[in-house]
Symmetry: C2
Subunit: 309 residues, 2 copies
Amino acid sequence: MMFFEGSEKKVEAVLKTGNNSLRALGKPFWETMVAQANATILSSVHNDDCDAYLLSESSLFVWDDRFLMLTCGTTTLVQAVTEFLKHFSQNELAMLTYQRKNEYQSHLQKSSFDEDLAALSQLLPGCAWRLGHLDGHHNYIFHSDAPYQPDANDATAELLMYHIQGPAAEYLRRNDQTVEGVRELFDWQGMLPDFQFDDFLFEPFGYSMNGIRGDRYVTVHVTPQEDSSYVSFESNLDQAELLPVLNQLLRRLNPQSYDVISFNLDAELDHDARAQRVDQALQDLAVGYRMRFAHYLVPPSQPLAAIQL
Amino acid sequence: MMFFEGSEKKVEAVLKTGNNSLRALGKPFWETMVAQANATILSSVHNDDCDAYLLSESSLFVWDDRFLMLTCGTTTLVQAVTEFLKHFSQNELAMLTYQRKNEYQSHLQKSSFDEDLAALSQLLPGCAWRLGHLDGHHNYIFHSDAPYQPDANDATAELLMYHIQGPAAEYLRRNDQTVEGVRELFDWQGMLPDFQFDDFLFEPFGYSMNGIRGDRYVTVHVTPQEDSSYVSFESNLDQAELLPVLNQLLRRLNPQSYDVISFNLDAELDHDARAQRVDQALQDLAVGYRMRFAHYLVPPSQPLAAIQL
């Protein structure tokens, strides 16, 4: 069975006002950053607010005063963060968070969160938390120590879906899928009018999409492999625009298990009646975000057959 | 936070009739086996049917025609199995199973199940399965290929408890606990009359117990550490004797999450009304065992605070 770790690592950093624009650093700077994580830039889209790069493993968004980078697989995102911190001192940095999702196969990763934390703590004072039980789905976050107050519209949601099922899941596993077919399946244009999109279909399957509109972004990454499927969606859309998108993704991909992680947002999704919330955690972070984590799953109605290895 | 991996690896092997007794191999043979797993023998009890050894990490039971060894922590049980297979050929072996529970922190293990499987498959034809989803609790099993028919009374149950709560859990975490206090807490004598017991209290906490009566065994291992507590119970008792013991353990330790794994047994426990069965799997193994796996958990009724690292 072919295995690919879809679970992402994620860094977000904000500069203090008065610094030069991060966008002005140009593509070579970001290429170096991405290379530190063992990824490459595949393509990009741009508007007046944001440069959005599609990566060989996930995505990078750069605004004037902040950037966001997500990488999956066995990438080494912590090394990209280390590289960034060589160029920007604590005095220039307003806030930094580094997150890690529990992996399907953590023993295949190049480092553990504990090791990442040790590396980051040497460069930047901060603290770290785990939301969710250690034996179930959970999310790790490190954040800088300096007080920070996010803007009123600075809110983020992540919907992380496992074991997708049904016709959409089957199409996403087909060897003969096309990028047009995937776009139609998700109906990005219908769901997110006025967004500018950039997407990529991997061989033999796997799909990534970045979308931007002004300073708003959406990003989707699909690892469809049966037995370890994973689809992540993340956005900073307002709750009113966001909720219908999250609900449509849930209905379309019909995941057997999913996590909702949010920062300064309390989005109650339209859950399937059979879905159980099996874990939940809430933490007010000193950097001004209320972080929520919840794990939902649809228990199998009868015993499943074992998976032969 | 002090972390210890309670989750066990387990091997069970049965010799064909006509072989010399495994018990006759004597303690030095088994000491070598145990050393291969990076464990040591702490103490033992014996009766006419069985030698039961308490190990620095879990337990070893030896009967004339079979043995069972469980090891936890970062032990290398697969190396003990490899050692055993140097002494006993396929022609002498009736059946062998090798099991591994998903770990709290699989990246700290010396090998993955995939690696163990590769090592075992070189020495013994067999096949391997996973029961339970990869992103949740699950159990791996490798078994030999040769047809095997277990005795009618050859049935086993494992109750694996996570996040124990309440007065018993608190006592088991105390630095001033005594072995008498732990015995009283579990009431082994009351629960398992006529059993012969051997137990050990680790420093600063942690507890192991073996019990034997004729060819029947029970074994309990307690890793009480808050945030990663784990208590395993395993036995080959008849269902009528077994069920009250399992139910009493559940009530006493009040785990937030637990797995029930059984071989040729279908024990329905007296679950707490709030407990949800979140996963279940069933597989008929070619070695004559119907293996069942179920994961239960009690969802938190409100969001938990994050764990600070």
